[in-house]
Amino acid sequence: MTNAAELSTLLVWASATALAIALVAFAVDLARRTEVRTDARTRARELAAVGGPAGPDAGRAAPPAPTSSAAPAVPAGRGKAAGIAMSTTWLGTAMLLVAIVLRGVAAGRTPWANMYEFTMVGSFVALVAFLAVNLRKDLRFLGAFVTGLVVLFLVLGLNVFYVAATGVQPALQSYWLVIHVGVAITATGIFTVAFVASVLQLLRDHRDAGAPLLAGWHWLDRVPGATSLEALSFRFNAVGFVLWTFTIIGGAIWAEHAWGRYWGWDPKEVWSFVIWVVYAAYLHARTTRGWSGRRAAWFVVVGYACVLFNFTGVNLLFTGKHSYSGLNPGN
């Protein structure tokens, strides 16, 4: 059993390494797309300047021009960096999955009962959400940020939250551990991807509005427009919000079984409620005149900050009934 646990830890490190490589490759890809784009822009200007197709259609006519000259350099649709990034992300995700399974084997239970395991599984869900949607729709521009956050989370988990694999106390011995915590982790992973989309939306929006600080960030031109990013973020958030609602309901049912009350304003319950209300406010803000767009995106940022605090701050700073970090706050 010890071997399984050790192998699991090694695989998490390996996965973090693979994802770090993916992060670099995604960043290179994003930068190189920027060059391509800048080229296209220059070309379009030149075309317009020499009296090519003038008027509003000038831009539209430009893209076919480079096709003939540059097409042989790169296989259609895939850059080299993007290819490396995607395959290392798949590899890292697969290794993380094996690490999670081995962890469960070593502990002899569901592998999401403490902070380290929560970090591991939450990162996995974020990666899967990213990869799954990417199969249907090109989301590679999100890659650098999703893998970046995941690497950060994994290394933090390994260094700060790590506890050895073992059983759990009686309060956690319930099938609700699988359901309630499993859904909470899934929601957290999905909120992570939505958060990345909203941050990009805000950056892109500010750059489009001519924010001087972002003038040098050309790579932002390579991400979709603010409206698309908003729609993308909303789709993830809608799924996350429904899952979070279920997390709270499932938690209440479990609390009723284990503690004899379904709601008791325990710090974790308070912050789960705060998160729920913030994301509910986000859904309302989206449809309120004067609050949609940029302001609504800030709700996502605040909501995700609450998600992170609910996971770290509430576990480590407050004493409550959800003291399952496996870490001793006294030390």
Binding site: V36, R37, A40, G59, A61, A62, P63, P66, A70, A71, A73, V74, G77, G79, L139, R140, F141, A164, T166, G167, Q169, P170, Q173, R204, D221, R222, P224, G225, A226, T227, S228, A231, F234, R235, A238, I249, I253, W254, E256, H257, A258, W259, G260, R261, Y262, W263, G264, W265, D266, V270, W271, V274, V277, V278, L283, H284, T287, T288, S292, F318
Partner: protein, 628 residues
């Protein structure tokens, strides 16, 4: 997602930066001339309320006329403000912020002891915080005010919306708009089939699966009118199809909000009817379900003692298991209480109670909330009389079950003082060289009692109820040794030891009985709370994931063939809208193969904000790469 590159680019290009909540996207760019009122209402607010308020306010006179409103006008204005989306949003934000202090400051409902401790540590700020209700945040007037206002706001908006939706459910799809050009999804084609056949085929296609409500109609021939770019050419008589789906979206939205209201109401009712009793029971003993048998008993305002079902419960045995591996040494692994329940009719049954498995008896649930050791202690006084005899529960203070307890010995023989014993029960004791004892494992492998002895007036004769777990030693005389240190009496089970200062002897029974803290709770609202919570979840999922779409078709004869145009409109952003329109076009019989979807004359992008091609859409990224 059957999304085409074109769709996204167009939605991007057509709309200004305004994410498509129902707010604007569902408002037809060209409202049908007959002005469907219900839909006018729907142009505000999506997954949320506020529609009524917002809608009403737009028709209202602006602010400056405020002073002349009069009190009725003022009331109406207040009501509209309260039920507006903006105020609902504000209240939601306030609710989130107001909930936070309850997680930072200790709360009376959870740990009254911590509140007292806090008040002791922060006398000035603590007093002010207390006055403002910061130690009872969730029952404080300000917290209650926020959620009650939110409830009123919700009612004020959900009720009119429910009425509107009920009317809308019986309504028909809105008439086909005159121009399709500015809709987010369009398609067009030509066919050899007649307009009648086209309309019939597409209507049949849309009716399949009963998702769409479909109307087939027609329009009179139209003469050319207008000039310049907005000119409308002449057109013969047409056949039209108007279809709408996704009424469930609003239904789900309303169900969600109504279920939230129901949830709050049943939670409040549960508070009124509930009762909760806590009892400490030692092995071999039991208790009856009666108010007097509980150590503490809470009840709602509408609770009647006659509701207590008169069963009784005996603890036969309690077993515990702890991890002995190094990784999680002494971590609890299992607690099981074996009990015998005697029903009111005399039938007895053996049951077990575990931490995640409460026992249900006559609708009440019995939870295992704690456990510990209750050694049998007998104290003989200086004259040899039995002054105290009984099981004393010691409360565990750490994971090794270092447990604290108090023995209050009355003065049974005249002329003697009362004796107070305070100290610890250590299940597996290790005594250091300097005489300090501590517990190293939670199981009773080598139990030891370490007690300090006090004498004086404990107040046992004054008839004032006392906390049995606390001894106020301030006015008592401790027994001290020659070195001035307090004497520590060490007793092991089965031993009898002399108390210092000739106060008598203490005997601890050979067997150390376990005790369990049981929590009995009855709340008739539980099933209803769950029902409303699940209803809310279902309503939420339906309202967020049901696409609401309208599809229109117009077909007319032109130069021997039939021209077909389609348009689609969705509420909220809807990636599948263009696919829906394309599938409807594909249902047209005899469609000409050279048909290009979306070839409608005025479907071209009206505004391309960025001169650079395909400004940054995900799909165009692929195009860019391919072009290198």
């Amino acid at each position: 997602m059957s999304e085409t590159p074109r769709t996204q680019r167009e939605t991007e290009a057509r709309r200004p930066y305004r994410p498509e909540g129902i707010d604007d996207a569902f408002a037809a760019p060209e409202r049908p001339a007959h002005g469907d009122e219900t839909h006018g209402d729907e142009t505000h607010g999506d997954a949320t309320h506020g529609a009524a308020g917002d809608g009403a306010r737009t028709g209202e006179q602006p602010g400056p006329s405020l002073p002349t409103l009069g009190w009725r006008g003022m009331l109406r204005w207040t009501w509209r403000q309260l039920t507006s989306m903006r105020v609902a949003l504000l209240l939601l934000m306030l609710l989130a912020v107001a909930a936070v202090p309850g997680s930072i400051l200790p709360q009376r409902s959870q740990d009254a002891g911590k509140v007292i401790e806090y008040l002791g540590d922060h006398p000035t700020t603590g007093e002010w915080l207390d006055r403002l209700g910061f130690f009872d945040v969730y029952t404080s007037p300000w917290f209650s005010a926020i959620y009650l206002l939110l409830m009123v706001s919700l009612v004020g908006c959900i009720v009119p919306r429910t009425v509107a939706h009920a009317r809308n459910l019986r309504g028909r799809p809105p008439r086909t708009p005159a121009r399709f050009g500015r809709f987010p999804a369009t398609a067009a084609g030509t066919t050899t089939a007649s307009p009648d056949d086209v309309a019939a085929a597409v209507a049949a296609h849309l009716r399949r699966g009963r998702t769409f409500r479909v109307d087939v109609g027609g329009e009179e021939p139209r003469a050319a009118r207008g000039r310049g770019p907005r000119a409308v050419p002449a057109r013969p008589a047409t056949r039209t199809v108007a279809a709408e789906r996704g009424y469930l979206r609003e239904t789900g939205n309303l169900v969600f909000h109504l279920a939230l209201l129901g949830l709050i109401v049943v939670v409040a009712l549960g508070q009124l009817f509930h009762y909760r009793g806590q009892a400490i029971v030692t092995e071999g003993r039991g208790f009856a379900n009666a108010v007097v048998d509980y150590d503490t008993f809470d009840k709602g305002a509408w609770f009647r003692p006659s509701e207590l079902s008169p069963f009784s419960l005996t603890l036969d045995d309690f077993s515990s298991q702890f991890a002995s591996d190094t990784v999680a040494f002494a971590q609890a692994r299992d607690f099981t209480a074996h009990v015998t329940v005697t029903e009111p009719d005399g039938a007895a049954s053996k049951e077990t109670i575990k931490v995640n498995h409460p026992l249900t008896i006559d609708g009440a649930k019995v939870y295992l909330q704690g456990n510990g050791f209750a050694p049998e202690i007998t104290v003989h006084d200086a004259q040899g009389q039995v002054a105290f005899e009984g099981r004393v529960p010691f409360l565990p203070e750490d994971s090794m079950y270092t447990s604290r307890g108090v023995v209050k010995v009355p003065d049974v023989s005249s002329g003697l003082e009362q004796i107070g014993l305070v100290g610890y029960f250590l299940p597996t004791a290790v005594v250091d060289d300097d005489g300090n004892a501590r517990s190293v494992f939670p199981q009773p492998t080598d139990p030891l009692l370490v007690l300090e002895v006090y004498r004086g007036n404990l107040g046992l004769d004054e008839g004032v109820p006392q906390n049995v777990y606390r001894l106020d030693t301030a006015s008592l005389t401790p027994s001290v040794g020659d070195d001035g240190e307090r004497v520590k009496v060490l007793v092991r089970p089965g031993e009898t030891v002399d108390l210092p200062d000739g106060l008598g002897t203490i005997t601890v029974g050979q067997e150390v009985p376990r005790y369990v803290a049981l929590d009995l709770r009855y709340d008739p609202s539980l099933a209803w709370v769950l029902t409303f919570a699940l209803l809310a979840l279902a309503g939420l999922a339906v309202s967020l994931f049901t696409p609401r779409r309208r599809v229109w078709l117009r077909a007319w004869e032109d130069e021997g063939r039939t021209v077909v145009e389609l348009a689609g409109l969705a509420r909220g952003d809807d990636a599948g809208l263009q696919g829906e329109v394309d599938r409807a076009l594909a249902a047209v019989p005899g469609l000409s193969p050279d048909t290009i979807p979306d070839a409608t004359p005025d479907a071209t992008a009206e505004a391309v904000p960025d001169p650079v091609p395909d400004a940054g859409t995900a799909d165009s990224t692929k195009g860019q790469e391919a072009s290198r």
